[in-house]
Symmetry: C2
Subunit: 153 residues, 2 copies
Amino acid sequence: MGETLGVAAGLVRLSFLVQCVYARSAAAYDLPVAQAQLLCVLKDRPRGMTELSGILHVEKSSLSGLVDRVERRGLLRRTSSLPDRRAVIVELTGRGKAVADAFYDETSEQLLEVVTGLSAADLDHFTRIATRIVLDESVPAIFGDSAGTGVAG
Amino acid sequence: MGETLGVAAGLVRLSFLVQCVYARSAAAYDLPVAQAQLLCVLKDRPRGMTELSGILHVEKSSLSGLVDRVERRGLLRRTSSLPDRRAVIVELTGRGKAVADAFYDETSEQLLEVVTGLSAADLDHFTRIATRIVLDESVPAIFGDSAGTGVAG
DNA sequence: TATTGTTATACTCTATAACTATA
DNA sequence: TATAGTTATAGAGTATAACAATA
Protein backbone atom coordinates (compact mmCIF):
# COMPACT_ATOMS: atom_id res chain seq x y z
CA MET A 1 0.00 0.00 0.00
CA GLY A 2 1.14 3.53 0.62
CA GLU A 3 -0.66 5.54 -2.03
CA THR A 4 -2.82 8.09 -0.29
CA LEU A 5 -4.65 10.94 -1.90
CA GLY A 6 -5.42 14.14 -0.06
CA VAL A 7 -8.96 14.82 1.11
CA ALA A 8 -9.69 17.11 -1.83
CA ALA A 9 -8.46 14.67 -4.46
CA GLY A 10 -10.36 11.88 -2.75
CA LEU A 11 -13.57 13.90 -2.80
CA VAL A 12 -13.24 14.98 -6.42
CA ARG A 13 -12.37 11.54 -7.71
CA LEU A 14 -15.06 9.86 -5.65
CA SER A 15 -17.51 12.38 -7.02
CA PHE A 16 -16.33 11.61 -10.57
CA LEU A 17 -16.89 7.91 -9.93
CA VAL A 18 -20.39 8.49 -8.60
CA GLN A 19 -21.22 10.70 -11.58
CA CYS A 20 -20.06 7.94 -13.93
CA VAL A 21 -22.20 5.32 -12.23
CA TYR A 22 -25.16 7.69 -12.16
CA ALA A 23 -24.73 8.57 -15.83
CA ARG A 24 -24.42 4.95 -16.88
CA SER A 25 -27.55 4.07 -14.98
CA ALA A 26 -29.42 7.02 -16.47
CA ALA A 27 -28.30 6.00 -19.95
CA ALA A 28 -29.71 2.52 -19.31
CA TYR A 29 -33.08 4.25 -18.90
CA ASP A 30 -32.43 6.43 -21.94
CA LEU A 31 -32.33 9.49 -19.70
CA PRO A 32 -29.91 12.42 -19.71
CA VAL A 33 -28.45 12.98 -16.24
CA ALA A 34 -30.29 16.24 -15.63
CA GLN A 35 -33.63 14.63 -16.43
CA ALA A 36 -32.92 11.65 -14.20
CA GLN A 37 -32.03 14.03 -11.40
CA LEU A 38 -35.29 15.89 -11.82
CA LEU A 39 -37.23 12.63 -11.66
CA CYS A 40 -35.47 11.72 -8.41
CA VAL A 41 -36.34 15.03 -6.81
CA LEU A 42 -39.98 14.61 -7.81
CA LYS A 43 -40.05 10.95 -6.85
CA ASP A 44 -41.56 11.49 -3.42
CA ARG A 45 -43.62 14.64 -3.84
CA PRO A 46 -44.61 17.34 -6.33
CA ARG A 47 -42.68 20.61 -6.26
CA GLY A 48 -43.03 24.15 -7.48
CA MET A 49 -40.72 25.61 -10.12
CA THR A 50 -38.98 28.01 -7.76
CA GLU A 51 -38.53 25.23 -5.25
CA LEU A 52 -37.03 22.93 -7.90
CA SER A 53 -34.77 25.72 -9.07
CA GLY A 54 -33.36 26.03 -5.56
CA ILE A 55 -32.95 22.31 -5.03
CA LEU A 56 -31.23 21.64 -8.35
CA HIS A 57 -29.23 24.87 -8.36
CA VAL A 58 -30.34 25.91 -11.82
CA GLU A 59 -31.96 29.13 -12.98
CA LYS A 60 -35.70 29.06 -13.41
CA SER A 61 -35.31 29.74 -17.11
CA SER A 62 -33.11 26.66 -17.50
CA LEU A 63 -35.56 24.66 -15.46
CA SER A 64 -38.43 25.61 -17.76
CA GLY A 65 -36.70 23.87 -20.65
CA LEU A 66 -35.72 20.86 -18.57
CA VAL A 67 -39.29 20.40 -17.37
CA ASP A 68 -40.48 20.84 -20.97
CA ARG A 69 -38.29 17.99 -22.17
CA VAL A 70 -39.31 15.61 -19.42
CA GLU A 71 -42.94 16.59 -19.92
CA ARG A 72 -42.61 15.82 -23.63
CA ARG A 73 -41.57 12.30 -22.62
CA GLY A 74 -44.78 11.95 -20.69
CA LEU A 75 -42.98 11.52 -17.37
CA LEU A 76 -44.35 14.58 -15.59
CA ARG A 77 -47.11 17.14 -15.85
CA ARG A 78 -47.54 20.76 -14.89
CA THR A 79 -50.43 21.52 -12.57
CA SER A 80 -51.59 24.92 -11.49
CA SER A 81 -51.59 25.86 -7.86
CA LEU A 82 -55.04 27.05 -6.88
CA PRO A 83 -54.06 29.47 -4.10
CA ASP A 84 -51.51 31.32 -6.25
CA ARG A 85 -52.43 31.38 -9.90
CA ARG A 86 -48.91 32.32 -10.96
CA ALA A 87 -47.39 29.21 -9.47
CA VAL A 88 -46.93 25.87 -11.20
CA ILE A 89 -46.80 22.51 -9.48
CA VAL A 90 -44.73 19.84 -11.18
CA GLU A 91 -45.65 16.23 -10.53
CA LEU A 92 -44.74 12.85 -11.98
CA THR A 93 -47.18 10.91 -14.12
CA GLY A 94 -47.77 7.23 -13.44
CA ARG A 95 -45.11 6.33 -15.96
CA GLY A 96 -42.82 8.97 -14.54
CA LYS A 97 -43.19 7.54 -11.08
CA ALA A 98 -42.45 4.04 -12.36
CA VAL A 99 -39.34 5.19 -14.23
CA ALA A 100 -38.15 7.25 -11.27
CA ASP A 101 -38.53 4.34 -8.88
CA ALA A 102 -36.82 1.90 -11.20
CA PHE A 103 -33.96 4.31 -11.92
CA TYR A 104 -33.55 5.06 -8.24
CA ASP A 105 -33.40 1.41 -7.28
CA GLU A 106 -31.05 0.48 -10.09
CA THR A 107 -28.69 3.36 -9.32
CA SER A 108 -28.69 2.57 -5.62
CA GLU A 109 -27.77 -0.99 -6.44
CA GLN A 110 -24.94 0.04 -8.76
CA LEU A 111 -23.59 2.38 -6.11
CA LEU A 112 -23.64 -0.36 -3.52
CA GLU A 113 -21.41 -2.41 -5.77
CA VAL A 114 -18.88 0.38 -5.72
CA VAL A 115 -18.39 -0.04 -1.97
CA THR A 116 -18.52 -3.81 -2.09
CA GLY A 117 -14.87 -4.13 -1.17
CA LEU A 118 -15.24 -2.35 2.16
CA SER A 119 -15.57 -4.14 5.47
CA ALA A 120 -18.90 -3.76 7.25
CA ALA A 121 -17.25 -1.50 9.81
CA ASP A 122 -15.63 0.74 7.20
CA LEU A 123 -18.82 0.93 5.20
CA ASP A 124 -20.75 1.91 8.27
CA HIS A 125 -18.22 4.50 9.30
CA PHE A 126 -17.98 5.90 5.80
CA THR A 127 -21.74 6.20 5.45
CA ARG A 128 -22.03 7.90 8.77
CA ILE A 129 -19.39 10.50 7.92
CA ALA A 130 -20.76 11.13 4.44
CA THR A 131 -24.23 11.61 5.91
CA ARG A 132 -22.80 13.95 8.49
CA ILE A 133 -21.10 16.14 5.88
CA VAL A 134 -24.14 16.22 3.65
CA LEU A 135 -26.49 17.19 6.47
CA ASP A 136 -24.03 19.73 7.91
CA GLU A 137 -23.81 21.41 4.54
CA SER A 138 -27.56 21.33 3.96
CA VAL A 139 -27.25 19.51 0.67
CA PRO A 140 -30.70 19.32 -0.95
CA ALA A 141 -32.55 16.01 -1.12
CA ILE A 142 -31.66 15.26 -4.73
CA PHE A 143 -31.49 11.53 -4.02
CA GLY A 144 -33.15 9.54 -1.25
CA ASP A 145 -36.33 10.44 0.49
CA SER A 146 -34.92 11.21 3.91
CA ALA A 147 -33.63 14.41 5.42
CA GLY A 148 -32.31 17.49 3.75
CA THR A 149 -34.26 20.08 1.82
CA GLY A 150 -32.17 23.18 2.23
CA VAL A 151 -29.93 24.84 -0.28
CA ALA A 152 -26.23 24.03 -0.20
CA GLY A 153 -23.84 26.85 0.65
CA MET B 1 -29.09 12.81 15.74
CA GLY B 2 -31.11 10.02 14.20
CA GLU B 3 -31.21 10.98 10.54
CA THR B 4 -29.16 8.54 8.54
CA LEU B 5 -29.03 8.27 4.78
CA GLY B 6 -28.24 5.03 3.01
CA VAL B 7 -24.86 4.59 1.37
CA ALA B 8 -26.22 5.37 -2.06
CA ALA B 9 -27.96 8.58 -1.01
CA GLY B 10 -24.87 9.62 0.91
CA LEU B 11 -22.68 9.08 -2.13
CA VAL B 12 -24.97 10.91 -4.54
CA ARG B 13 -25.52 13.89 -2.28
CA LEU B 14 -21.87 14.12 -1.37
CA SER B 15 -21.07 14.03 -5.05
CA PHE B 16 -23.60 16.82 -5.67
CA LEU B 17 -21.95 18.90 -2.97
CA VAL B 18 -18.50 18.39 -4.45
CA GLN B 19 -19.78 19.30 -7.91
CA CYS B 20 -21.26 22.51 -6.52
CA VAL B 21 -18.02 23.50 -4.84
CA TYR B 22 -16.06 22.60 -7.96
CA ALA B 23 -18.42 24.57 -10.19
CA ARG B 24 -18.35 27.61 -7.95
CA SER B 25 -14.58 27.56 -7.90
CA ALA B 26 -14.44 27.17 -11.68
CA ALA B 27 -16.85 30.07 -12.11
CA ALA B 28 -14.54 32.20 -9.97
CA TYR B 29 -11.92 31.60 -12.66
CA ASP B 30 -14.44 32.19 -15.41
CA LEU B 31 -14.15 28.58 -16.47
CA PRO B 32 -16.84 26.09 -17.43
CA VAL B 33 -16.50 22.89 -15.40
CA ALA B 34 -15.40 20.76 -18.34
CA GLN B 35 -12.62 23.19 -19.19
CA ALA B 36 -11.44 23.35 -15.58
CA GLN B 37 -11.38 19.58 -15.49
CA LEU B 38 -9.26 19.44 -18.63
CA LEU B 39 -6.81 21.91 -17.11
CA CYS B 40 -6.50 19.74 -14.01
CA VAL B 41 -5.74 16.65 -16.04
CA LEU B 42 -3.07 18.51 -17.99
CA LYS B 43 -1.69 20.21 -14.90
CA ASP B 44 1.11 17.75 -14.32
CA ARG B 45 1.93 16.50 -17.80
CA PRO B 46 0.94 16.78 -21.47
CA ARG B 47 -1.40 14.13 -22.86
CA GLY B 48 -2.52 12.79 -26.19
CA MET B 49 -6.09 13.20 -27.42
CA THR B 50 -6.98 9.52 -27.17
CA GLU B 51 -5.49 9.41 -23.69
CA LEU B 52 -7.52 12.45 -22.61
CA SER B 53 -10.63 10.94 -24.11
CA GLY B 54 -10.18 7.87 -21.93
CA ILE B 55 -9.42 9.82 -18.78
CA LEU B 56 -12.32 12.23 -19.10
CA HIS B 57 -14.76 9.67 -20.48
CA VAL B 58 -15.74 11.76 -23.49
CA GLU B 59 -15.68 10.91 -27.17
CA LYS B 60 -12.71 12.16 -29.12
CA SER B 61 -14.99 14.29 -31.25
CA SER B 62 -16.33 16.03 -28.14
CA LEU B 63 -12.81 16.45 -26.87
CA SER B 64 -11.73 18.16 -30.08
CA GLY B 65 -14.19 20.96 -29.42
CA LEU B 66 -13.31 21.19 -25.75
CA VAL B 67 -9.62 21.48 -26.55
CA ASP B 68 -10.47 24.07 -29.22
CA ARG B 69 -12.25 26.26 -26.72
CA VAL B 70 -9.51 26.09 -24.11
CA GLU B 71 -6.92 26.68 -26.81
CA ARG B 72 -8.83 29.77 -27.94
CA ARG B 73 -8.42 31.08 -24.39
CA GLY B 74 -4.70 30.67 -24.73
CA LEU B 75 -4.48 28.14 -21.92
CA LEU B 76 -3.16 25.20 -23.91
CA ARG B 77 -1.54 24.38 -27.23
CA ARG B 78 -1.55 21.43 -29.56
CA THR B 79 1.85 19.96 -30.36
CA SER B 80 2.56 17.25 -32.85
CA SER B 81 4.11 14.03 -31.74
CA LEU B 82 7.25 13.38 -33.73
CA PRO B 83 7.25 9.57 -33.70
CA ASP B 84 3.63 9.31 -34.88
CA ARG B 85 2.60 12.13 -37.16
CA ARG B 86 -1.10 11.43 -36.67
CA ALA B 87 -0.93 11.99 -32.94
CA VAL B 88 -1.42 15.30 -31.16
CA ILE B 89 0.07 16.22 -27.81
CA VAL B 90 -1.90 18.68 -25.73
CA GLU B 91 0.02 20.77 -23.23
CA LEU B 92 -0.68 23.80 -21.08
CA THR B 93 0.78 27.18 -21.93
CA GLY B 94 2.45 29.23 -19.20
CA ARG B 95 -0.81 31.01 -18.50
CA GLY B 96 -2.66 27.73 -18.61
CA LYS B 97 -0.32 26.24 -16.06
CA ALA B 98 -0.78 29.27 -13.79
CA VAL B 99 -4.56 29.12 -14.04
CA ALA B 100 -4.60 25.36 -13.51
CA ASP B 101 -2.43 25.62 -10.41
CA ALA B 102 -4.46 28.48 -8.96
CA PHE B 103 -7.75 26.74 -9.67
CA TYR B 104 -6.48 23.50 -8.21
CA ASP B 105 -5.29 25.16 -5.01
CA GLU B 106 -8.43 27.23 -4.60
CA THR B 107 -10.70 24.24 -5.16
CA SER B 108 -8.72 22.08 -2.76
CA GLU B 109 -9.05 24.78 -0.14
CA GLN B 110 -12.80 25.11 -0.66
CA LEU B 111 -13.20 21.35 -0.38
CA LEU B 112 -11.23 21.29 2.84
CA GLU B 113 -13.72 23.72 4.31
CA VAL B 114 -16.48 21.26 3.56
CA VAL B 115 -14.94 18.72 5.94
CA THR B 116 -14.01 21.29 8.56
CA GLY B 117 -16.56 19.97 11.01
CA LEU B 118 -15.02 16.50 11.18
CA SER B 119 -12.71 15.36 13.93
CA ALA B 120 -9.14 14.63 12.92
CA ALA B 121 -9.79 10.92 13.36
CA ASP B 122 -12.95 10.95 11.26
CA LEU B 123 -11.30 13.02 8.56
CA ASP B 124 -8.40 10.63 8.42
CA HIS B 125 -10.63 7.60 8.30
CA PHE B 126 -12.87 9.14 5.68
CA THR B 127 -9.97 10.09 3.47
CA ARG B 128 -8.48 6.65 3.73
CA ILE B 129 -11.73 4.95 2.72
CA ALA B 130 -12.43 7.37 -0.12
CA THR B 131 -8.92 6.81 -1.43
CA ARG B 132 -9.40 3.08 -1.16
CA ILE B 133 -12.64 3.14 -3.18
CA VAL B 134 -11.19 5.41 -5.82
CA LEU B 135 -8.07 3.31 -6.29
CA ASP B 136 -10.02 0.04 -6.22
CA GLU B 137 -12.26 1.32 -8.98
CA SER B 138 -9.38 2.69 -11.03
CA VAL B 139 -10.81 6.17 -11.18
CA PRO B 140 -8.66 8.27 -13.51
CA ALA B 141 -6.41 11.01 -12.11
CA ILE B 142 -8.73 13.86 -12.91
CA PHE B 143 -7.66 15.76 -9.79
CA GLY B 144 -4.46 15.44 -7.81
CA ASP B 145 -1.14 14.37 -9.13
CA SER B 146 -0.84 11.06 -7.31
CA ALA B 147 -1.91 7.58 -8.23
CA GLY B 148 -4.55 6.47 -10.68
CA THR B 149 -4.45 6.61 -14.43
CA GLY B 150 -6.76 3.80 -15.43
CA VAL B 151 -10.23 4.01 -16.82
CA ALA B 152 -13.16 3.61 -14.45
CA GLY B 153 -15.39 0.59 -14.94
C1' DT C 1 -43.65 46.79 -6.72
C1' DA C 2 -42.40 42.08 -6.06
C1' DT C 3 -42.84 37.35 -7.46
C1' DT C 4 -43.78 33.27 -10.62
C1' DG C 5 -42.78 31.46 -14.56
C1' DT C 6 -41.80 31.66 -19.72
C1' DT C 7 -39.49 33.14 -24.00
C1' DA C 8 -35.48 34.76 -26.73
C1' DT C 9 -30.81 34.33 -27.42
C1' DA C 10 -26.25 32.62 -27.23
C1' DC C 11 -22.84 29.46 -25.79
C1' DT C 12 -20.94 25.08 -23.87
C1' DC C 13 -21.02 20.24 -23.98
C1' DT C 14 -22.09 15.89 -25.85
C1' DA C 15 -22.67 11.90 -29.13
C1' DT C 16 -23.00 9.77 -33.87
C1' DA C 17 -21.48 9.49 -38.36
C1' DA C 18 -18.51 10.61 -42.05
C1' DC C 19 -14.09 12.10 -43.15
C1' DT C 20 -8.64 12.83 -43.63
C1' DA C 21 -4.14 11.48 -42.78
C1' DT C 22 -0.89 8.38 -41.11
C1' DA C 23 0.53 3.70 -39.57
C1' DT D 1 -6.93 -2.36 -42.43
C1' DA D 2 -6.51 0.01 -38.22
C1' DT D 3 -5.64 4.09 -35.56
C1' DA D 4 -5.40 9.37 -34.48
C1' DG D 5 -7.83 13.15 -34.83
C1' DT D 6 -11.23 16.46 -37.07
C1' DT D 7 -15.58 18.13 -39.02
C1' DA D 8 -20.61 18.16 -39.58
C1' DT D 9 -24.75 17.87 -37.42
C1' DA D 10 -28.16 17.69 -33.96
C1' DG D 11 -29.75 17.91 -29.41
C1' DA D 12 -29.36 18.74 -24.32
C1' DG D 13 -28.18 21.94 -20.77
C1' DT D 14 -27.10 26.40 -19.04
C1' DA D 15 -27.23 31.54 -18.04
C1' DT D 16 -28.70 36.44 -18.96
C1' DA D 17 -32.09 39.53 -20.19
C1' DA D 18 -36.63 40.79 -21.37
C1' DC D 19 -41.27 39.66 -20.82
C1' DA D 20 -46.26 38.28 -19.11
C1' DA D 21 -49.36 37.41 -15.50
C1' DT D 22 -50.52 37.54 -10.83
C1' DA D 23 -49.81 38.97 -6.00
